[in-house]
Symmetry: C2
Subunit: 811 residues, 2 copies
């Protein structure tokens, strides 16, 4: 029988306490260096506690009194010491080797750690001059933390040097990899929380090494912080055996080094030796690959740091464990306001860090410690890569007009909009060989974008088979990033953008919901950045959704969900944009616009199959620039009030709406029909709610103030009602869209089940014009019988009748 | 320097071809058994191909002609052989040891594998009598597959024996664990796709062993299927070294056994020996724990099956690789309709399985092979656990009225609604010790539900420290399941429900977006189950959201997102329910209702902090039963038309709306105000769009046909507009809600920034009644100045003024 964990693990072997135990031996720090480094850490921890508790008396020159405390105590102490410890040890190497390093705080809930470091580095005072390096500046610095109108307890956009908030957990490693792609000299020192490690996105992101090229990319140096506890539970990784833990990271493809214990001085020596070993190993791998010109996948080094939760705090308070237990997660002594004993204890604890030794009477860090700070932009909180907009270069763009699809007359020719756009994308990749990447979860080829591989293949640092030369498009040096994890590709792309580059994600439409929450968080990040003066705008996050709901007939119900748009619409109008180009030239125009934009999340929805083309390039540009408009060529209300408006948004819905218009005009020739198409979804909203919104006058000029509008929408119909809720004429809007009906159906049948097909739309229009009387009734009957007729053919043959696919605009 | 993968892995060592290579040696199958087993597999593979291609001529009695083929070829071949291979090998052990096993198909995209097995077992014909075990039945069985009106290419609800669709990847292991909790004799044989393995949810779910008790729970036997390729790329796990792969699963806490190759007969022997070894090891672990009464965490066995993608298909076609390459993922020969050579090749290939030997002239499986099928419900496709509603027992429920909070008069007393409900929940746990579990991502205590630990602690099979006795609430035998992975706890709960039990998930409101897509997929599953006659209804999936947006002031912007409701609203009205109880007694009533319900996803939103109480238990029951109604005690329009309707949905919004009402009545005493509260969100929708919807008459009786309604909503305001879009009076609805404004703010400030505070609401009401003239203007001024006054206090002190929290209803 196999061994069981009970036989294999002991509490001692996974204890976070005691003298340092480490894989790498050696004591690289002189006793002076050791003393200074520990002092620097203690100064930082004092600042952390000050942030959690104080609004006055920042240097505790006076005895600590209730009036010095914030009225509400908020913030996180648990991981502060471990993060500070790692940060200060890296500073030594930055200075020694002149390294280019950013710090990513996975457990962002220990923001005091990085904020205090930024303050010690002087960066905080540079970007926020009122938080100056003196007593009054320190007081303001303390008070603002987790205080109304101030900053939060995660590494938010207000935090210098941060590009990863850590508010929602799980993305530190994928973000880190995103930052080092195409930044060959960068090291992303990444603290990974052991709570965070339990999340799915984090668990799979360790495999990112299979996509990192040691010649063209930098390196991620993860420090898995085994803190022992989450909010109220032990963590899984802190409680498995050393054997399992080591095997896990070997299995993930890393070389794990352990640093474990709580004794500060021996821990500093162990961490100094281990970090240095890792940095030298990273450099050696890179050197080997770069000098030989032969890329390979090293077993990159990573560190497992096991230290007590709330390290350096009181071990027990009133008989209950604090240090080394989950009580240290947030405010370690929450009742200082009501307990004079605990207030005293807090004072003793804070004073035990001896702030008076590190901060002069004026509150300024003493020169001996200031000496430990790296120079200028080498300070991790000043690294411009963490403020990626600063170093962003505009994309070199080919002229999108050069890729136009011929379209002499609307609705006559079919063309592959998506694979045509792939040529444009290919040339963007070619023109920007170090500045743009395409990301996707193993769907790029399926999404008809394989044309891009001519300019950049798929990065693959794994083993190759003979078969892979047979159309596999794999390469060590590629520009397309594919792993079957929406979380990982989204995280990589976010990291890539946040560190000053450009890119796009392509995905099947239904499965983009897998990263709803990530996209939400990115929206929030870039929105807050707008409020932070020193942040420069980054490139937009472009998400191309294809394999859409209306052409998932054979994959069935699970693959049908166009509701990502609802999620995006809830985010701030300052940062979200949604486009549904109806044809290939509009798709080109929209993509060009998105790639040139900054600080948005652009969502583009377009099907990947062949589709009818409606607009030539000039018309497409004009239409996309307006965002919504009347298609005169498909309307016959010129100069008159229409009887009905047929409107559409999305490529498949547009085809059906146009066909419905054709049917109506055939059956009731005297009808005046206006045809409207919407590309830019936010045009529908009032102008005061979104920068793209139309005024009421513009809205009525297009949709009329009072005629029935049959609006065929790509996604769930309610979204249109929601966007137009404040429009006085919205009661005239009759919206059709996906209604959660479908399974294994032909495209036509799927549309009919959701009442978005040409017949249903035409019938709906007739039903809204009772004034047509018998004429309407007779047309209605014909439409119904055609619908039944086509359904029967489709059901018997398993495919839609030819006329449906090859429908031709008859006018 | 560490070894690199290039030095460590060779293409040979990870090749899926050749004679079997396996960890476990032995040839347990006699030559007769071996022959029969291989025949059985070949019969199954013939059926798979038949499903992909044929609509006629099912036994190929006639030469294969174009007319036999479906017009559109759809479906997946890639993983079929590996899944069939595993399935048939387990059948032997089911018969030998009388095992209780279900089969979970992670790569559901190989549904032909499980569907063909169900057909061979006779189960398919039992539940679908027209798909009978004869030639005509087989023809229909083939034709319906991926055919309009038929079944899909995943293990959809129509698939006997399936409780896991595999349409969206990543949940097979967590689902499997959910099924075996409290099913001590069950083995969930779980095929995990190597593409699926790259997803985050799957990657972390391997850690589920740390929560499985070998005494009270069954076992999961995973078979990681290294198929080599996804849709268009190699998979990560198929291309790492043997050493890394083995280390990875040891690190995850498993004992990995390898079965690798493509030679059928030696592969059968290897798999037979390996599966048997695993089953015996599982039984030995269970025996040891059960006989000693001492639970422990074994290193459970798992299997790595490496076989070629599209195994048993042609290796090369027209010079291009097929078997062992990603071209075998879907339809292996897609152009048989246009290529006579490929049609011929297909015929040869199908005939190579020699169907005529296995299916008699009548199309019935020959007795020699039928003999391999386990008996009755031991057939994996007949196991009632996979149709969990069949074995579901109702929960034993305490009377929720016994937990009522005192409430003599509305809005006077504060009480902890959530921790009070926890007592009810505790007693449900106590009364249903094997039938109910509570799930959550490390937030149960933070969510004020810690009271439940008295009846059932947190399951923890890891190591314990001394500290853990100090309020840690850990136990080998617990009823509360916590890991910091929303995906894993949701997957466990879904599996637990799908296999016939009951449960609830609790989560912070913002991070429930992490599982948007999982909840979507579960909704789709239970909706489709309604259309499948033989499926019995399972218990509802209850999701309690707390730590809501309005009380995330100190965690800031990342923790503020109430938009999960928008996602849920898009799902079918047949399966979704949303409740926002305004106080503690309503919360009890709603929870009781949800726990008794079947086949829904119930979402309950309630804050965890102390809140004002409004209704005594009788009133709460009446109010929740109606779902929405007028609160007479807070209204002064009795018997008259109101001037304005103040409406609310959600606990914090209700408090603010009531306070606004009080302010209005103080400042403009002659105003007639009606107060309305909505508990059941879908009451707002028209009755034809949701079973809970109100008729227009009911709607107007509550909201009036034409008076202004100031509606204060918990979530994004647009959702109310969307639900009421078809109400003629909706232009009178002025909705306030979360508007994506917030950061580190006091609760009042957060409300003010989103205009949901008492002052803003009262001002909004006045603005909608211009007829009030000077009186309105003067009241408006007072409100504005109060608002400014309170903001100033809050900003200076860091907390809201006492009057705001302790507000008392003045009438």
């Amino acid at each position: 029988m196999s061994p069981t964990v009970q036989e294999d693990v002991s509490a001692e072997s996974i204890s976070p306490f005691g003298k340092a135990r480490s894989t790498v031996k050696g004591e690289p720090l002189s006793s002076d260096e050791l003393k200074l480094q520990d002092d620097y850490m203690r100064a930082s921890l004092y600042l952390c506690l000050g942030m959690l508790y104080l609004k006055k008396n920042p240097l505790l020159k006076e005895p600590l009194s209730l009036g010095d405390l914030k009225a509400r105590l908020l913030g996180h102490w648990g991981s502060d010491a471990g993060q500070v410890f790692t940060y200060v040890n890296m500073n030594r190497l930055i200075k020694k080797y002149d390294l280019d390093v950013i710090f990513i705080s996975g457990p962002g809930h220990g923001a005091p750690a990085v904020i205090s470091q930024s303050y010690l580095e002087g960066v905080y005072s540079e970007v926020y001059p009122d938080k100056s390096e003196d007593e009054e500046g320190m007081r303001k610095f303390f008070k603002q933390f987790s205080f109304p109108g101030g900053i939060g307890s995660h590494a938010t956009p207000e935090t210098p040097g941060s590009l990863h908030e850590g508010g929602e957990l799980g993305y530190s490693i994928s973000h880190a990899f995103g930052t080092v792609f195409d930044h060959p000299n960068l090291i992303a020192l990444t603290m990974v929380g052991d709570g965070e490690s339990e999340t799915g996105p984090l668990a799979t992101s360790w495999h990112s090494t299979k996509f990192l090229n040691p010649i063209t990319d930098g390196a991620v140096l993860p420090v898995l912080h085994l803190n022992g506890y989450k909010i109220n539970n032990p963590t899984v990784l802190a409680r498995i055996s050393h054997r399992e833990l080591e095997a896990l990271f070997i299995g993930y493809g890393w070389t794990p080094y352990f640093v474990e214990g709580s004794d500060p001085l021996s821990m500093h020596q162990a961490m100094a030796a281990t970090l240095e070993k890792c940095v030298l190993e990273i450099r050696a791998h890179q050197k080997k690959a770069r000098e030989s010109g032969k890329a390979f996948r090293p077993l990159w080094p990573m560190i497992v740091l096991r230290s007590p939760k709330g390290w350096t705090g009181p071990r027990k308070v009133d008989g209950h464990y604090l240090e080394g237990f989950w009580r240290a997660h947030q405010i370690p002594l929450p009742d200082v306001a009501s307990s004079p004993e605990h207030l005293k204890l807090l004072e003793q604890w804070m004073k035990s860090y001896t702030p008076e030794k590190y901060f002069g009477a004026d509150g300024k860090l003493i020169p001996a410690l200031k000496n430990l700070v790296p120079d200028g932009n080498r300070r991790m909180s000043a690294n411009p890569i963490a403020n990626g907009g600063l170093i962003k270069k505009p994309l070199l763009m080919p002229d999108f007009r050069d890729y136009k699809l011929p379209c002499e007359k609307g609705g006559i020719t079919e063309a592959p909009s998506m694979s045509n756009m792939a040529v444009f994308l290919r040339d963007i990749i070619a023109k920007n060989p170090h500045n743009f990447r395409l990301f996707g979860p193993d769907e790029t080829e399926s999404n008809k974008l394989a044309g891009v591989y001519e300019a950049g293949k798929k990065v693959w640092m794994g083993e190759y088979f003979e078969e892979d030369q047979d159309g596999g498009n794999l390469a060590f040096e590629g520009r397309v990033m594919e792993i079957l994890s929406e979380h990982t590709v989204e995280g990589w792309l976010e990291g890539y953008l946040l560190s000053g580059r450009h890119g796009m994600l392509n995905s099947y439409e239904p499965f983009i919901h897998i990263i709803d929450s990530m996209v939400n968080q990115h929206c929030k990040w870039i929105e807050k950045c707008l409020e932070v003066e020193w942040r420069a705008k980054i490139a937009s996050l472009n998400i191309l959704l294809t394999a859409t709901v209306w052409r998932q007939d054979h994959n069935g119900f699970t693959h049908q969900d166009p509701g990502f748009l609802d999620v995006v619409c809830n985010k701030s109008p300052e940062v979200v944009r949604i486009y549904l180009p109806p044809d290939g030239n509009c798709l080109l125009s929209v993509m060009d616009h998105c790639f040139r934009s900054s600080n948005y999340v652009n969502v583009i929805v377009a099907d990947k199959q062949n589709h009818l083309q409606y607009l030539d390039m000039d018309a497409a540009i004009e239409h996309c620039t307006k965002g919504a408009g009347i298609w005169d060529w498909a309307s016959n209300d010129q100069g008159q009030e229409p009887d009905v408006v047929m409107a559409s948004c999305g490529d498949v819905p547009t085809m059906e709406s146009l066909a419905a218009t054709a049917l109506l005009r055939e059956y009731v020739p005297e009808l005046k029909i206006r045809f409207v198409n919407v590309v830019d979804l936010f045009k529908l909203i009032p102008e005061h709610d979104h920068p793209h919104g139309m005024s009421q006058r513009e809205f009525e000029a297009i949709f009329t103030p009072n005629r029935p509008v049959i609006f065929n929408f790509h996604s769930y119909p309610w979204l249109i009602h929601r966007l137009t809720a404040q429009r006085p004429s919205q009661a005239n809007l009759h919206v059709r869209g996906y209604n959660e009906k479908g399974n294994i159906d032909t495209p036509l049948e799927l549309a009919i089940r959701n009442r978005t097909d040409r017949f249903s739309l035409a019938i709906e229009a007739l039903d809204r014009m009772p004034e047509l009387g018998n004429k309407g009734a007779s047309a209605r009957e014909k439409l119904l019988s055609s619908q039944i007729n086509y359904r029967t053919i489709a059901f018997n043959d398993g495919i839609d009748p030819e006329e449906i696919r090859k429908w031709v605009w008859p006018f």
